[in-house]
């Protein structure tokens, strides 16, 4: 593989990412399944980087799951998006930062549609005005939250206590990166690095000491794909997608997976348990799985945050072997302590997948 070819493509796909004053919108999936990631994003931006990040309590779903699931009509989706823009305008912000990849795709798609069809924008403005009395300005900048972390990857690296390096061998950790499909597959020029060789996570991993693994099924969907999972009859297709990826990446012996999408860490993590139960097969070392992280979790780890504050105890595949590889300390006894001191209870150990 010739890295120079990729570097040339990466240069072609750069974009402007605002430097401060962000209007942050949470993800439906992430705030329920990985709330620690969004909390960590806010902590890094506010406490480490001193940025102004605003969250509006009236922000709702972007309707992305319903829209891509053919349940929510286009005009409804666009009107909901217009309302989010109105909330941002009312709050005095111009730089939209969605936590969710699908929301990022939705906002990008809507703005592109309005750019090409101004009459559609006018119609949606009318819908919003009639329904809510609200008006809005078009955002000055839209960047996915992973774009923002990418922008400040050097600053994070400068403050980091750990590197993505195996402390026993001194070698960089082998990292599989998985980009959410809606990040740049629809609009390649809206993603750092484009659609075929996205750079947004590679930039972080390289800067934080790791080594990227490129494997044949890198571009393949994680298995969420909305209707692949949400329609129960299709779930075999969902797990088949994840299975295809694991089979493809396993020969490279990756130490970890890093993701930037709500569904991807969920499915790449949980399906490893299901595949182990169904096929008796595991993909990590010693019968364990390959640990899967969000980019905020990885940033939090190298910054020295408590792994349990990041929410790593909610992962199916145990993170401890990787923490040991890097040399990150953790208190095993506190793993299932809730934030209010309430014990969360220990999960039952799977029969096949080896967990700590």
């Amino acid at each position: 593989m010739n890295i120079d070819g990729k570097i040339a493509i990466w240069k072609d796909y750069q974009k402007h990412i605002a430097a401060d004053k962000y209007f942050y919108v949470r993800s439906c999936v992430r705030q329920n399944f990985f709330p620690g990631s969004e909390t960590t994003f806010l902590r890094i931006l506010r406490e480490e980087l001193g940025k102004d990040v605003y969250e509006h309590p009236c922000h709702t779903t972007c309707t992305g799951i319903g829209y891509h699931g053919d349940i929510v009509p286009l005009d409804t989706m666009m009107t909901v998006v217009a309302r989010q823009f109105a909330l941002m305008t009312e709050a005095g912000y111009e730089n939209l930062v969605p936590s969710c990849i699908t929301s990022f795709g939705i906002y990008t798609e809507v703005l592109d549609t309005w750019h090409h069809f101004p009459e559609t924008e006018a119609r949606v403005r009318e819908y919003l005005k009639k329904a809510t009395g609200r008006e809005f300005k078009i955002p000055a900048n839209i960047a996915h939250a992973s774009d923002v972390v990418y922008k400040f990857r050097n600053e994070i690296s400068a403050k980091a206590k750990y590197k993505l390096v195996n402390q026993h061998t001194g070698k960089p950790l082998k990292v599989v990166e998985h980009i959410g499909c809606h990040y740049s597959k629809m609009f390649p020029d809206k993603g750092i690095g484009g659609a075929e060789y996205p750079y947004v996570l590679i930039g972080m991993v390289n800067d934080w000491g790791g080594e990227i693994v490129d494997y044949p099924e890198r571009r393949h969907c994680c298995g969420f794909g909305f209707r692949q999972y949400l329609v129960q009859a299709n779930r075999g297709y969902s797990i088949a997608c994840s299975h295809k990826k694991f089979e493809s990446m396993q020969p490279y012996k990756p130490d970890m997976i890093i993701t930037n999408c709500p569904g991807c860490p969920m499915f790449l993590d949980k399906w490893q348990y299901a595949i182990a139960e169904m096929e008796g097969k595991t993909y990590g070392e010693n019968g364990q799985g390959i640990p899967v992280f969000t980019y905020e979790e990885v940033a939090g780890l190298i910054l020295g945050y408590n792994p349990w504050d990041l929410g790593l105890q909610t992962h199916q595949v145990s993170c401890e072997p990787l923490l040991d590889k890097i040399g990150i300390p953790y208190n095993a006894a506190e793993k299932y302590d809730g934030v209010n001191g309430i014990k969360l209870g220990k999960p039952e150990k799977p029969a096949v997948l080896q967990c700590v």
């Binding site: 070819g5 075929e196 060789y197």
Partner: protein, 358 residues
């Protein structure tokens, strides 16, 4: 006094039209930006469909230039051109000026840069090469080997790379790639009889005389496999081989296979010289960015500027056969113009606005 014609571009069209214009009695100056005549033909070993050597055709073209005593100027970098009273002055970087009564533009084509088709991994995956690079292997008598130095056991050939593809901005057919793929498949099998060769195509456009026969021969005699389906992506396996994903549209099934070498049949695009000379002479470009001819059916060598004419692939993809024919037609059109019999003065039967296809 002899009337003067400047021909810009010393490829097939420029050489053959120069020879004919000289034979018709004009004083011809052929300006070529590189250090020798022949253009892309110099990089091609054998030609479809006859498998005759490309250098034979170069010899034929050179003889015409020599016999006609064409004034050949290589390393000619044109900086500007002006037209005054049906006379052209063409200025070169070395401060030389050439005068002419007519200009023939034969600025040809460039090959599509396969890196722009990002999902096929050219320039990234070591075992993805272009048809031009494969031809270079044939021309130089090299062995066909993978990046790892092994003889490939399975080779994939992808048609329409940079042709008929909205994503790359080239919606037209490049015309010569299908038959080139057939030719190169046979040449691979001649050298590596045990290798499997798979061509992934959209349509097999075997429009030229004997092309269909060559296509049959590739299948029946050489066992080349033709699969109707366009590649969605190529990826690199851990051993350096290339994983391709394609839909077999005849079987109606998605197909995934690994090949040791993937050859991309790169298409034809207007050359950088075409763009440069076009701007310099205020020539019109069509929707596909090649030169727009005065009429699609009847004035295919005539430009929008009086006294400037076209020949060859600067107006669209052509085979060598068609380019030579076009070059001679252009010479004839210029002769008509210089003797006062302009063909664009003729009136069409109807004055219906033609669909602007190019």
């Amino acid at each position: 006094m002899k009337k003067k014609v400047i021909v810009i571009g010393g490829g097939i069209a420029g050489m053959e039209s120069s020879a004919h214009l000289a034979a018709l009695g004009y004083e011809v100056t052929l300006l070529e930006k590189s250090d020798k005549l022949g253009g892309h033909l110099l990089n091609w070993e054998k030609l479809f469909p006859t498998m005759r050597m490309g250098k034979d055709v170069v010899t034929f073209l050179n003889e015409g230039i020599e016999k006609g005593k064409v004034h050949v100027v290589c390393n000619a970098n044109i900086t500007s051109a002006i037209q005054k009273n049906n006379q052209f002055s063409v200025f070169l970087e070395n401060n030389t000026t050439y005068l002419a009564d007519a200009i023939l533009v034969t600025t040809g084509y460039d090959l599509f840069d396969a890196r722009r088709k990002e999902e096929y991994g050219y320039g990234i995956y070591n075992n993805v090469i272009t048809s031009a690079e494969l031809e270079g292997i044939f021309l130089n008598g090299f062995q066909i080997v993978t990046a790892e130095g092994n003889a490939p056991k399975r080779i994939g050939i992808v048609h329409c790379v940079g042709s008929r593809d909205e994503k790359t901005g080239n919606t037209y057919c490049s015309k010569v790639c299908c038959v080139t793929a057939v030719k190169q498949s046979i040449e691979i099998k001649e050298r590596l009889p045990d290798a499997e060769v798979y061509c992934f195509y959209m349509d097999m456009r075997m429009f030229g005389m004997h092309f269909e026969a060559l296509y049959r021969e590739a299948q029946e005699k050489w066992g080349v496999n033709f699969i109707r389906g366009r590649l969605s992506e190529a990826c690199e396996n851990i051993d350096g081989s290339v994983l391709v994903k394609v839909e077999d549209t005849l079987a109606g099934k998605p197909l995934k296979m690994s090949v040791d070498l993937l050859v991309l049949m790169v298409g034809i695009e207007p050359s950088a010289g075409t763009k440069q000379v076009g701007k310099m002479l205020n020539l019109q470009f069509g929707v596909n960015r090649f030169f727009k001819t005065a009429d699609q059916h009847t004035l295919t060598n005539v430009s929008n500027v009086k006294g400037v004419f076209f020949a060859g692939t600067c107006t669209g993809p052509k085979t060598i056969t068609n380019t030579i024919t076009d070059a001679r037609a252009a010479a004839s059109t210029i002769a008509n113009y210089l003797s006062g019999h302009e063909i664009d003065d003729r009136i069409m039967a109807s004055d219906i606005q033609l669909v602007a296809l190019w």
